[in-house]
């Protein structure tokens, strides 16, 4: 199987293009279904083991990873089969409505080991805008799950993705990147500690109900703030998050607070001392204009705004208002980058991920080789069985005729025929100049044969020029 990657990410394309190419969760199944229809469902088991040999249509596998920073197609397909990188580009252009030229100009493509390595790096957050983030693991898992549901994942991608998810987690743990990770939210809390002496008389507000809001709110709750509000556009998700965090207005609630409707956002912003934002909104939720009006009602109390969303939830201009301290995820990460030995840990993680990717590709190749050997063996066994049946027939005739002395000759003939039949197919390739319009790499084949059968390179004059074995069909009687 060959692994291919076609991707557009924050390195190759500006945010507008990335946004126009993003495929959200609702559209994802349709795109995957289109892939399955065109390049075949990968859900047929052991596609590689199918003795179809050369071109096989209908065993392409695909996982589509689309986040705010990247849209990437991971594809596995049999060698010499569709789709190629070009077809993938066209496919993506059709699906997203972007022009083919644009995609060609702003995408990267990788094959085999580099493609797998890229997947591992992306999963490990090493290719992320905020290097070392772990959020992307969840995104990769979701993309993989979606592809599984759409039936576009076969054994090859199964192996690669499972290995990526497993190995990356391990690399994160062992390299210490996982410990750094908690720091993104803990860094926010630490920054807050430079602003506020105690949290017990403060009000914390979390906008959005996503993972990052949850993680950071949890960390804030460890400091036991006076009140904690969750404000979300969809009330159900907000209530659910408030529930998970143990917020409530009752006495027995773990933390005082709860969910507030989106309409009360202004009131919450007035009440709060620490505001975390992590919504999926495309436009800033807290604009400078909006917040400026609230400053008076806030009585100029210092406020700590932590913008964890990409794209931003808080206009950068808000940060220049008096007594407003605005930090976005980049600031937190930049501060994290100051942490000594962070680079070291990331480098260690990078090395581990590279090794893991190599192991994964190696294992895939090994497995492919195993399949190849099985195919070869069964083919040879088929030839052997044919010959054996023929020889057995002849032997029976000799036996019946009582010509036992000819049996030895029959055995010689059997051996020769068998060897000739086995060698016929590969050796006939050496003889041809062209095959399907392509130049036959005779020298390469010769070298491979020499290497595979451990033969010395002997000049033709010293040895008898042995003619190529005749076609078994011609030899057949």
């Amino acid at each position: 199987m060959r692994f291919l990657l076609l991707g557009i990410n924050h390195r190759t394309a500006p945010v507008e293009l990335r946004e126009s190419l993003a495929i959200n969760a609702e559209r994802l199944p349709a795109v995957l279904a289109a892939f399955r229809d065109r390049f075949g469902g990968g859900d047929e088991s052991e596609s590689g083991a199918a003795p179809s040999g050369g071109r096989s249509v209908g065993s392409g596998e695909c996982v589509l990873l689309s986040t705010c920073n990247r849209t990437e197609l991971y594809v596995a397909r049999p060698s010499h089969a569709e789709p190629t990188i070009d077809t993938l580009r066209r496919f993506l252009a059709e699906q997203t409505g972007a022009s083919l030229d644009l995609i060609t100009a702003s995408s990267i493509h990788r094959e085999q080991q580099p493609a797998v390595h890229h997947l591992f790096r992306v999963t490990a957050g090493l290719d992320a805008m905020a290097v070392g983030e772990t959020q992307v693991i969840g995104q990769v898992r979701r993309a993989y799950d979606a592809a599984q549901q759409a039936g576009t994942v076969g054994p090859s991608l199964n192996r690669v993705f499972q290995s990526a998810l497993r190995e990356v987690k391990q690399a994160h743990q062992q390299s210490g990147v996982a410990a750094l990770q908690q720091s993104v939210s803990s860094m926010a809390v630490e920054f807050a500690g430079n602003l506020f002496e105690s949290f017990t008389d403060k009000t914390v507000a979390g906008l959005g109900a996503g993972e990052i809001t949850k993680a950071t709110l949890q960390r804030m709750l460890a400091k036991s703030p006076g009140k904690t509000w969750v404000v979300n556009r969809t009330p159900a998700a907000g209530l659910a998050l408030a529930d998970t965090l143990g917020l409530g207005l009752e006495k027995e609630a773990a933390h005082h607070g709860g969910a507030r409707p989106w309409e009360e956002l202004d009131e919450v912003l007035v009440e709060s001392d620490i505001v975390l934002t992590g919504t999926a909104a495309a436009e800033p939720v807290i604009t400078a204009e909006r917040f400026k009006k609230l400053l008076r009602r806030r009585r100029n109390r210092p406020v700590f705004l932590i913008d964890l969303a990409v794209p931003r939830d808080v206009e950068p201009a808000v940060g220049s208002l008096p007594n407003v301290y605005l930090y976005n995820i980049d600031d937190l990460n930049a501060a994290l980058a100051d942490v000594p030995r962070r680079r070291e840990k990331i480098d260690r993680c990078e090395a581990m991920v590279r090794d893991a990717a190599e192991r994964c590709v190696g294992a895939a190749q090994h497995q492919d080789l195993g399949v190849l050997v099985r195919q070869l063996r069964s083919k040879l066994l088929a030839i052997g069985d044919d010959e054996r049946a023929r020889t057995q027939r002849k032997m029976q005739t000799l036996h019946d005729a009582g010509q036992y002395d000819k049996i030895e000759g029959l055995l010689d003939e059997h051996t020769h025929r068998l060897i000739n039949k086995v060698l016929h197919l590969p050796l006939s390739q050496l003889d041809k100049k062209k095959r399907g319009g392509e130049e036959v790499p005779t020298n390469f084949y010769a070298a491979a044969l020499r290497r595979l059968f451990d033969l010395d390179d002997v000049s033709a004059t010293t040895a008898d020029p042995e003619p190529l074995p005749p076609s078994p069909a011609a030899n057949d009687e």
């Binding site: 630490e190 500690g193 430079n194 602003l195 105690s198 210092p302 930049a334 501060a335 000594p340 030995r341």
Partner: protein, 355 residues
């Protein structure tokens, strides 16, 4: 003799204080660097720890300065002062502030939530001690304590000096507030900032010391007004709009705002810090006016010397007085018109003599 000793001790104290400031800055830098390193490394370098200035050394130094200043104040009280009032000149007031500031510095060192403030307090202490050198060696002038209201004068001086201490504290916290605030706005790594006080603690310190300063300044201002009521001609007619009174009054107003900044929300945050610093500068201006302005005296004193009409005689008379020697040599007014010289002499002689 007393002045020479005072000067020498003050120079010593100032040098000590400067050394302490340098140590505090070095220590903070090292602490920050350590915080950055130790954040993830359990195996912190022993060498670095050794190189970090010792906290005990710093504390000892500050305690030494405080005790030295207090001791010098006591000595001067015994040697120069008369009776129960320890403050007989501007130097004494500055020494009082310095010794108390050193005490406050020691207290702050023990408060983890006010970490790093020593870095801003110790230079201030150095400044005050250096000022004390000037006040002792060049512009020495005893207070006019033989007024009709010694009690009021004492209350006035105590209120003003202790109030200034509060304001100095507020100003130092204000400077630190601006620094921390700048760091926060610049989004510096909080691991490095960790040992510095939070903005909230600093704001609280500003409002509290401003409250203290305001209360004591109120006492100082009221007693000052009372004294002026007794001796209305001290600052001449229209004293209430003289620069000294106006500056003092505006400083007082500024601290009235700063202490209520949680309610006067328009001045919250950075503005409060600037106000605290500005108020302190105004107070310094008041001190400057008092020190450099013409001596406050009365006709009665002047007349006392016009009788003698003899500068040499006056000098001789002054020599018999305790502080006249220094005064004669150092005071710039000696080069001025005779009349003003006479005034100063008369003041001095009268103070020193039984009269």
């Amino acid at each position: 003799m007393i002045q020479t000793l005072t000067n020498l001790s003050l120079v010593l104290l100032t040098l000590l204080s400067a050394a302490a400031s340098v140590l505090a800055v070095a220590r903070l830098r090292q602490t920050m660097a350590l915080a950055m390193q130790a954040s993830h490394a359990s195996e912190s370098d022993d060498n670095d720890l050794l190189r970090r200035p010792n906290k005990r050394l710093l504390n000892t130094l500050v305690a030494l300065i405080g005790l030295g200043a207090a001791g010098l104040l006591m000595y001067r009280w015994l040697a120069v002062g008369d009776g129960w009032n320890p403050l007989s000149a501007h130097v004494d007031g500055l020494l009082l502030i310095a010794s108390l500031l050193a005490g406050v510095g020691l207290y702050i060192q023990s408060r983890p939530r006010l970490g790093g403030l020593a870095v801003f307090l110790l230079p201030l202490l150095t400044l005050i001690l250096a000022w004390a050198i000037c006040a002792s060696a060049w512009t020495y002038r005893p207070f006019h304590l033989d007024s009709l209201s010694p009690v009021w004068t004492a209350v006035h001086l105590a209120g003003v000096y202790l109030g200034t201490l509060g304001c100095a504290l507020a100003a130092a916290a204000g400077v630190m507030y601006l620094v921390v605030q700048g760091q926060l706005k610049a989004k510096r790594n909080p691991r490095g900032l960790l040992r510095l006080a939070s903005l909230e603690s600093l704001e609280r310190l500003i409002t509290r010391s401003a409250t203290l300063g305001f209360a004591l300044l109120t006492v100082g201002l009221i007693s000052g007004v009372v004294i002026l009521q007794y001796e209305g001609d001290l600052l001449g007619p229209g004293w209430w709009y003289s620069p000294k009174v106006l500056a003092a009054f505006s400083a007082w107003l500024v601290y009235a705002v700063v202490m209520n900044v949680r309610y006067a929300t328009a001045f919250r945050g950075r503005r409060a810090a600037w106000l605290a610093i500005g108020g302190f500068v105004l107070l310094l201006v008041v001190y400057g006016i008092v020190t450099s302005g013409p001596a406050t005296t009365t006709d009665r004193l002047e007349v006392g010397f016009e009788d003698s009409r003899d500068l040499a005689g006056a000098a001789a008379a002054a020599n018999s007085s305790l502080n006249a020697e220094v005064f004669l040599i150092n005071h710039p007014a000696v080069a001025g018109p005779v009349e003003s010289r006479l005034r100063h002499f008369s003041l001095d002689v009268l103070r020193g003599g039984p009269a």
